[in-house]
């Protein structure tokens, strides 16, 4: 088996998508990367044709090839609008995986992805270590935002990033969080705290846990959980490391009926284990079962919890404010969750909802994409900032810390005084 292992094992799993593209070029209209670069290699059609070229033996694993494949935010706008229903992002992730398998990862990503991200505690230490330097060496910028050095500085290159929290979520909350004595316990769920919530926005995690417990939900925060793996298997195509992380997370939430996540990227990555990482029937079964348990926080509030109107009280900052919603790609197109977050906002008394034009347009963050291609990412972000500005909203909310960083950065750069928050921060 190992001897005959196919060089294009993963790509071939998505052969249908690969061959379905009929080269109509409609994706050029939708692709945020093409809209900036206007060259063919930016867009699904071009990337897919390069992958076909690789399979035909005309192209090889070169730096250019890797570069063209990395230049994709996996926003899936191409797929959502493709008349042939070709899911080229699937092919791109698979092609990244085959490339990693054939050629390995480059430094420093090999260290970070293979070794550091899977080790949550150590990762936490490194982030903490970096935060000391951040405070010591880097200048402060506007508001509560600082330039971040060292480890996360890969994201930096002048980008405005929230600072690393002095205490991480796992140091702030116990494993089991029970509702107050006066409230009847309705159900028990697991809480998946993505890396961003854990290390950068622990107050958000605490806030969500408090909201849930107050509404009769017992929240378990397993210590064994780790990074969702999105940057590793989706971004870098390292399926082997991805499987380790997937297995750890599946195990960490065993016995819990729901896994609640406040990060769209994590949510969709957790649900994508089955699609990309299932290499054995056992894994397939376990990943599929796990995927069913994973719920985005708004989806959980609306579809499962079904709270009374009285539960939707505005937080102090949100009271009387005009609020707009940015659809994270990983929530809207990847998971089809668009109505629930809007319903949450509209349910909050005393908050006015305003829809922005092209709310579901990619913000340009896409994790490692924005580290490698910050200029491109900025240009895409500028379009988003203009959309937000046009609404006259006081606050823009989303459900993805990654998007939120990009929104903060884009709005600051464009001098648009709109506050960026997580949707749950609108709630008391």
């Amino acid at each position: 088996m190992a001897l005959t292992a196919d060089r294009f094992e993963q790509i071939k799993r998505f052969e249908k998508d690969l061959s379905q593209c009929m080269k109509c070029g409609f994706c050029t209209f939708w692709c945020p990367v093409y809209q900036e670069e206007r060259i063919e290699a930016s867009v699904a059609r071009g990337k897919n044709m390069m992958i076909r070229g690789l399979l035909a033996g005309e192209l090889d694993y070169t730096q250019e090839y890797a570069d063209r494949l990395n230049k994709c935010t996996l926003c899936m706008t191409c797929t959502a609008n493709c008349p042939a229903k070709a899911n080229i992002p699937n092919v791109i992730v698979a092609a990244r995986a085959d490339a990693v398998k054939a050629r390995g990862l480059n430094f420093p990503y090999n260290i970070v992805y293979r070794w550091l991200l899977p080790r949550r505690r150590l990762f936490g230490w490194v982030v903490r270590f970096a935060s000391w330097f951040q405070g010591v060496f880097m200048p402060k910028t506007e508001g509560t935002i600082r330039h971040l050095s060292m480890f996360l500085s890969a994201l930096g290159k002048g980008r405005n990033i929230p600072q690393i929290a002095p205490r991480f979520l796992r140091q702030m909350v116990p494993v089991v969080n029970v509702p107050p004595a006066s409230v009847k316990t309705r159900m028990r769920v697991g809480y998946f705290s993505g890396c961003m919530t854990d290390f950068v926005l622990p107050h958000l995690g605490k806030h969500i846990i408090d909201f849930l417990t107050r509404n009769g939900v017992e929240v378990v925060v397993p210590r064994e959980q780790g990074c969702c793996g999105a940057p590793v298997f989706l971004g870098a195509g390292d399926f082997e490391a991805g499987r380790k992380m997937a297995d750890a997370n599946v195990k960490a939430f065993e016995g819990l009926d729901y896994v609640i996540s406040d990060c769209a990227t994590c949510t969709s990555a957790l649900k994508d284990y089955a699609k990309f990482l299932a290499d054995t029937p056992q894994r397939k079964k376990a990943y599929e079962k796990f995927a069913k348990k994973v719920k985005d926080i708004s989806e959980f509030l609306i579809d499962v919890l079904d709270l009374p109107a009285s539960a939707y009280k505005p937080s102090a900052v949100a009271k009387g404010k005009k609020v707009s919603w940015h659809d994270p790609c990983h929530l809207s197109r990847h998971l089809g969750i668009t109505s629930q977050p809007r319903q949450v906002i509209k349910s909050i008394s005393g908050v006015e909802y305003v829809e922005m034009p092209n709310a579901d347009r990619c913000c340009g963050m896409a994790g490692a994409f924005s580290m490698h291609y910050y200029d491109l990412s900025k240009e895409i972000g500028d379009k988003k900032a203009a959309s937000i500005k046009s609404t006259g909203a006081d606050i823009v909310v989303s459900s993805c810390p990654g998007c939120e960083i990009q929104l903060i950065d884009s709005l600051l750069r464009n001098k648009v005084p709109v506050k960026v928050m997580h949707i749950m921060e609108l709630l008391e």
Partner: protein
Amino acid sequence: MEKKLRAQLEKIVGKGVVLTSKEDLTTYSYDGTATWAHMPEVVVLPTTAEQVSQILKLANDNKIPVTPRGAGTNVSGGSIPIKGGIVLCATRMNKILDINKTNLTATVEPGVVLQDFNLALAKQGLFYPPDPQSFLGCTIGGTVAENAGGPYCVKYGVTKQYVLGLEVVLASGYIMKLGGVTVKNRTGYELAMLFTGSEGTLGVITKITLKLIPMPQASKTMMAVFDDMVVGGQAVSNILASGVVPAKIEFVDNFILRRIEEMMPMGLPVDAQALLLIMADGSPAAVEVEAKQIVDTLKKSGAREVKVAKDAAEAAKYWKMRSAGFAATFGAAKTVLAEDVAVPRDKLAEFIGKLGEISERTGFFISHLGHAGDGNLHPAIFTDVSDKENFAKAQEAMEEIFEAALSLGGVLSGEHGIGLEKQRFLKRAMDPVALNLMIKIKSLLDPNHILNPGKIWEEERV
């Protein structure tokens, strides 16, 4: 040589917009056709006419082939750099320079995407009718170079009816101005028309002035269901003969309609042999009268059922269905040979009958989709290039389709152009003196044959 060329081009357009990696070149080797591909040596993306001029001078001095390209959505092999050389891609020349609501004209750079243009016009209540169904991708330069058409052309005409003025860079590098911004213009020969539909072989279009019309106030969409394709074809002729010219009349056959229903279930009558989608537009009062007349004619012509869309949403659903037709056709087999013949509009039923006979004789299933109101059909044959024998037979069947269209007074291509795909048949479809004249014009304007060489006519004639 390659390095030197790259450096020279970079001197003209700057770094970053001269592409030479094998990866990038691969992505400029194809177009919308199923089987044609050829790699260029270099791709260059200029932003001004001046840069285009210098690129052409350089190419002309060194006799390097230059293939102009827009979005590469053509389906005739037109933008394939079949002789290698330079692909000159206009996608970064994408500024809308002027929209003049009082003169009803607009001036654009060639790389403006048709849909971006439509959206900008809609904001001002203006309308540019030629609507090739690739509007999300195709550039206006590409539509002028192909003289593209679309559903709206029944009533409003094709691209050439809207081109008032062009700026064209000749092979020598000279930046030439043709036509102007007036609707009437009798200054010498209609040279702007020479470049409209020239498929990139005579010059590079760098600026386009187009005629606009106000957005029609109202429209109504009807869908007619037929149990027989020939009867459906005859209904089209009957409508036109009845004295109304609908905005659009589109034809979808049973095969495609079933495929669409599979792709996007919407409750289509899957047992119908043919559907006609018809739109009437204009002032609200005129639309009412015309729609009624169309419905009557359809019923009299033997339609099993005629549905009139209740509202804009239902109408949009029908048209979305029609635009899925291309995907439905091209997704149906490994290799799809889709043609673009056009016949006189009173011969449509007869032509559909002939297609049935050809299908029976050759054993190939033929699907029908097209702009019936223009007599322009895209009969498609399903095959597989890797199966040599089957593919050769499919091509023979295709030839029979051409012959059938020509014998009815039709043409080889209604809107897609000749490119590489149809040049084998050109001799049969054109007066030999006219064909010769065309080649002479080419030689006069482009003596070294650097511009999109190898296209339209077969090479040995040069």
